[in-house]
């Protein structure tokens, strides 16, 4: 039995006359003890999906089970065995770190001592501040506390909605390390993130866009699906170069990507020569052309275009 099975989930929001389809028939399954990443831009439907799986929201149609329990019928069982960390910090800001943790342990009918081993690594980092009110913690600390609170009842499935949004790079790295340790305890983790670079840290990822799943695979599998050769070009006149490449009828896509532009041709073949031709027709200084391996973001961009 897979811990999370989602079949054809549809969610529609009605705002007066506007009907917004947040999820348009999403299906996937998560294996036991894996870190499953749901990756997509803002408004893709990640939070709606999480809220349906944590029984906070009822889907318009489709079926979903968590730990074998139906999210609509058996919501009471699910609430006992999942941990949910919403995207917004939603602990009591006027209670201290310790009081928050104790409170959430109690409402799940357990104690801190019973499951201390699960949160030990994380809690030790915030323990020096345990008498501080949650509202006065830094962003990274807040996330660590929220993670502790969602783990304290030893959930079998953990839902983390954008846990690293607004957290600094070091804390983000630490946070992912913690998730990998939790995975070793046998906890299945569903994590959503708008950051493509975090995709590589998941066991499997689902790319979601406008309520539709674009692709579900391992991070390596997704990049392998990218069949056409990818080129990185750069010159001192980046903007001019981007315009010139976009105007070329043979170019399928060209995105600015940090210091470089990533280019794909419609019909591969003689790519380097064709790039050199473009480069030579303009006045470019320090031109550079390299063949590169695609990353998740390239794949996402390509999938979005289809």
């Amino acid at each position: 039995m897979k811990p999370v099975v989602v079949e054809n989930i549809v969610k529609v929001y009605k705002q007066k006359r506007n009907v917004i389809e947040a999820l348009k028939g999403v299906s996937f399954a998560v294996e036991k003890g894996e870190i499953f990443g749901i990756i997509g831009p803002d408004g893709a439907g990640k939070t709606s999906l999480f809220r349906i799986l944590t029984t906070l929201l009822i889907a318009a149609s489709g079926k979903a089970t968590v730990d074998g329990f139906d999210v609509v019928k058996d919501f009471k069982q699910i609430r006992n065995r999942v941990g949910y960390m919403p995207g917004r910090f939603s602990l009591y800001q006027d209670l201290t770190v310790e009081e928050n943790l104790e409170f959430f342990a109690t409402i799940f009918g357990t104690t801190i001592q019973k499951n201390y081993h699960l949160i030990k690594d994380i809690y030790q980092q915030i323990e020096p501040f345990k008498t501080r009110r949650a509202g006065q913690l830094s962003g990274g600390m807040k996330q660590k506390l929220a993670l502790c609170c969602s783990l304290i009842h030893k959930p079998s499935v953990l839902f983390l909605d954008e846990p690293t949004t607004g957290v600094d790079a070091v804390s983000r790295k630490e946070f992912w390390e913690m998730l990998h340790r939790l995975k070793e305890d046998g906890i299945t983790i569903l994590v959503s993130t708008p950051y493509m670079d975090e995709a590589g840290l998941c066991d499997r990822v689902a790319l979601i866009q406008k309520g539709e799943m674009l692709s579900i695979n391992t991070p390596a599998g997704i990049t392998n699906e990218f069949k056409k050769p990818l080129w990185a070009v750069r010159a001192n006149e980046m903007h001019q170069l981007l315009m010139a490449l976009k105007e070329d009828p043979g170019v399928e896509s060209c995105f600015p990507f940090g210091q470089q532009h990533h280019v794909v041709f419609k019909q591969p073949g003689n790519d380097r020569q064709r790039l050199e031709t473009v480069m030579n027709t303009g006045q470019y200084t320090n031109p550079e052309i390299r063949s590169i391996r695609p990353n998740i973001e390239d794949c996402f961009m390509a999938l979005m275009k289809q």
Binding site: T55, L56, L57, V82, P86, Y92, L95, T106
Partner: protein
């Protein structure tokens, strides 16, 4: 049970960490109880009087003296024509004009009758009505004096007259404070009960903490009880502070038992807190809940019989007051404080409020959804 205990503990911790709690618990009732009853005075004093005296006789002077020395009037204007005096009313200098016609004394002595004109500025209807009534009383008195002086009273009264003796029960001194203070106390308890409880839940919505509660196995009733009980205690604490202030500053000692007040207040608070909960299930932001509870408590207070007697309201408004829990509490407070009523005397009010409590709380529980 353990979960409920923790919910309560958490709620009380949060309430007492709120720096405004001291203000709410002590300063607010003090200000309301010490300022409002003094301002909400039904007696009208300092009515500004304008006089037009065409007579200039001994009697007319006597009459004016009598009016001014009554303490209710202040002689502000002395004009020679009525139109001049009316100008005084227009300029808001005077509220009431008394015109004494020429040959007032002569007519009174010779013809045994005379007329006087009283014109009142009725923008403030209460002031005009009461002012005219006062002046009428004083003139009547004056009339009596004149007759006593001039007419040899016959041994037997030629006309049978009925003399009215007044006896004011329950509030013999007609002290309006005894009447207002219990009512204002009710208003205060109502505010704490309805808006604070409703705001508190909506804050959980705004902060997102309610999401965390909703994904937990906690039951709806546990959550709602966890919200009801702390505010129930808080409101009873404010009631205690208020009763204490009423006793110390106004010397108001209920004729009935304090216990009767507390029993009724406990039931009343269940109803009012239920209303607060209900509002909170509909409101999404604290602003919405504030505005709604402000509106509701204002309507409730105006239609509660606190300021104006319910019996003088139109029929439809009287029906509304029966649907208003505040009016029951004000009624009961006055009954217990002034009349010394016991639990048996207020059983209908208790039943009515139990009905309200079941209705509001039931609706709130049905409407509070852990899922959407």
């Amino acid at each position: 049970m353990r979960a409920l205990k923790f919910l309560l503990q958490k709620e009380l911790r949060q309430i007492f960490r709120d720096p405004s709690i001291f203000f709410i618990l002590f300063i607010m009732p003090m200000i309301q109880l010490m300022v409002l009853p003094l301002a909400a005075d039904y007696e009208i004093k300092n009515i500004n009087l304008g006089v037009v005296n065409h007579d200039h006789s001994g009697y007319s002077r006597k009459l004016i003296n009598k009016i001014v020395s009554s303490g209710y009037f202040r002689l502000k204007d002395y004009s020679s024509t009525f139109s001049q005096a009316l100008r005084g009313i227009e300029l808001d200098k005077t509220d009431l004009v008394l015109e004494i016609p020429a040959q007032f004394e002569r007519k009174l002595v010779k013809e045994n009758e005379s007329t006087i004109l009283v014109a009142a500025n009725a923008i403030n209807g209460v002031k005009a009505g009461l002012g005219s009534a006062y002046i009428q009383g004083i003139i009547g008195d004056f009339n009596q004096d004149v007759r006593m002086q001039w007419i040899q009273a016959p041994r037997f009264n030629p006309q049978p007259t009925i003399d009215v003796e007044y006896s004011d029960w329950y509030n013999p001194d007609m002290n309006y404070r005894d009447f207002m203070v219990p009512g204002i106390l009710v208003m205060l308890v109502t505010m704490i009960g309805s808006s604070f409880a409703s705001n508190n839940i909506v804050r959980e919505k705004e902060m997102g903490t309610i999401e965390q509660i909703n994904v937990s196995p906690i039951k709806k009733t546990q959550f709602i009880l966890g919200k009801l009980i702390p505010f129930w205690m808080l409101a009873l604490a404010v009631l205690t502070v208020g009763l204490f202030i009423a006793r110390i500053f106004y010397g108001i000692v209920p004729l009935g038992h304090y216990l009767t007040i507390y029993v009724f207040a406990s039931i009343y608070l269940l109803a009012i807190l239920g209303l607060g909960l209900l509002m909170s299930t509909y409101a999404q932001t604290q602003q919405q809940s504030m505005l709604v509870s402000f509106f509701v408590t204002m309507v409730f207070n105006l239609l509660s019989g606190l300021y104006t007697p319910i019996e003088s309201m139109p029929q439809w408004a009287q029906i509304i007051t029966r649907l208003n829990p505040v009016s029951y509490f004000i009624e009961v407070m006055r009954m217990v404080v002034l009349k010394g009523s016991g639990l048996a005397d207020i059983k209908y009010q208790i039943l009515a409020l139990l009905g309200f409590a079941v209705f509001f709380n039931g609706w709130a529980i049905v409407n509070y959804k852990k899922r959407s």
